[in-house]
């Protein structure tokens, strides 16, 4: 497009700058604020390990732990979500809200540490051998 035509269109079309508190529309997959579901969190601290901006902090306690998230430090990279095995973390698909006080959006949850899940009993080698042979026999038939 001719640059002068473009300038004229901009001049006549008005400004595209949005006034506060309006925010731009985002596309699908946009990475916004991170949220946690305390019921699903196991306290594995993988999110903290993967957070290079130190936005997620986990303070261990006796039988519980404190999970804190500071959006002011977050780079919204989404690596914490990728590392969360139990899908306890989710991310908004909208721009983070504008805040005026430092730490206004900071959240902190005290989560009771869940007992480790009981290990599944190991199958006996003999039984396994039987089943394998049974399958093999079935296949032959």
């Amino acid at each position: 497009m001719n640059i002068l035509t473009m300038l004229f269109k901009n001049l006549m079309g008005g400004s595209r700058t949005l006034r506060f508190p309006a925010s731009p529309e985002v596309t699908k997959g946009y990475r916004g604020l991170v949220h946690i579901d305390p019921a699903l969190c196991t306290g594995c601290a993988m999110c903290k390990f993967r957070c290079s901006a130190n936005a997620i902090v986990i303070k261990p306690g006796k039988g519980e732990f404190v999970w804190s998230y500071d959006p002011g430090q977050c780079t919204y990279c989404g690596r914490c979500l990728e590392g969360c095995k139990t899908n306890a973390l989710t991310q908004d698909c909208e721009c983070p809200p504008i805040y005026l006080t430092e730490g206004e959006l900071r959240v902190s949850y005290t989560i009771t540490r869940k007992p480790p899940a009981p290990k599944a009993p190991k199958a006996e080698p003999a039984a396994a051998g039987q089943s394998e042979s049974a399958i093999a026999a079935g296949g032959a038939q």
Partner: protein, 304 residues
């Protein structure tokens, strides 16, 4: 011209009382026009004034030694010379203007550019030095065209006097000279496509990288006054002579405004050129134009 008229011209119109608000106004018009053409809101009307006040309120950086003293002095000299250049503009020739000539005005207009070059080298910053070197090369390139344009105007009208030039009716050669001056203005005011010396994205404003606080405020003011003086010179040469002073003043302001808008459109529509392209542009294209204008002016003069 008596002393009161001279003082009124230097201090009131088109001197300091008019020039400083006009400088802020021109800076705002340029920023606002560029913003609107880029689809942005742009700064509010008072923003250049707020910027100036804010910078004045900051503590200047401590700079010991001669280099530090020089760095403090350059912006003051630039402001003084720009303000002097504005005061010389023959805006109201009918009311008894300054009896100076174009040479003095040109000299005063050139001082801020030299101060910027010196400031960049005084700062010791690599960005400042690169910016100063660019400014020096650019200055050598566009000033020849600028001077030849002024010469062609003076030769076509048989005078260097600002008053006489403002009173005389314009000739076709004068229009050619005015056009050449207009081509030089983006380089003189560091606007795109000739904004090499203060390229923000490359060399962080070049010579004024190391400036802050009141010293930077002075540079901003000097830049604004340069706007008024340069644009005012072209507006004065382009404006027809009108005896009624307020109409003359109105036409001067309107023409200046139109030139600022034109420069803003050029700045918005173009990208920054490389230094060799810029130099080639002035030496190959515009120089031929200016030389032709001077030759024609001299020929007409001898024929007359």
């Amino acid at each position: 011209m008596n002393i009161i008229t001279a003082l009124a011209r230097m201090l009131i119109f088109p001197g300091l009382l008019f020039a400083i608000p006009a400088a802020w106004f021109f800076l705002w018009v340029e920023r606002k026009a560029v913003a609107l053409m880029q689809g942005r809101i742009g700064p509010p009307f008072m923003q250049p004034f707020y910027d100036f006040i804010k910078l004045l309120g900051k503590d200047p950086p401590h700079r010991p030694g001669i280099a530090g003293m020089l760095m403090r002095v350059w912006p003051l000299i630039a402001v003084a010379s720009s303000a002097g250049a504005v005061g010389l503009l023959p805006v109201l020739p009918a009311s008894g203007g300054f009896e100076g000539d174009l040479i003095l005005l040109l000299a005063l207009l050139e001082v801020p550019s030299m101060c910027i070059i010196a400031a960049g080298f005084s700062s010791g910053s690599i960005f400042g030095e690169i910016g100063s070197a660019r400014e020096a090369v650019l200055s050598v390139s566009y000033n020849i065209v600028f001077l030849l344009a002024i010469l062609s105007i003076a030769a076509s009208q048989h005078t260097f006097s600002l008053e006489a030039l403002a009173l005389l009716p314009a000739t076709p050669l004068r229009w050619l000279g005015v056009l050449a001056l207009l081509v030089c203005l983006p380089a003189k005011l560091h606007l795109n496509p000739f904004s090499l010396p203060n390229a923000e994205q490359e060399i962080y404003s070049g010579p004024i990288t190391e400036y802050a606080g009141p010293e930077l405020a002075m540079w901003e003011l000097s830049h604004g006054l340069e706007w008024v003086a340069s644009v005012g010179l072209v507006a004065t040469l382009a404006a027809p002579y009108i005896a009624v002073w307020w109409i003359a003043a109105l036409i001067f302001v309107a023409l200046s405004f139109a030139i600022v808008l034109l420069l803003s459109v050029v700045a918005s529509a173009t990208a920054r050129l490389q230094i060799d392209t810029t130099v080639r542009f002035y030496w190959q294209c515009t120089l031929i134009f200016a030389v032709l204008a001077v030759a024609s002016a001299l020929f007409m003069r001898f024929r007359a």
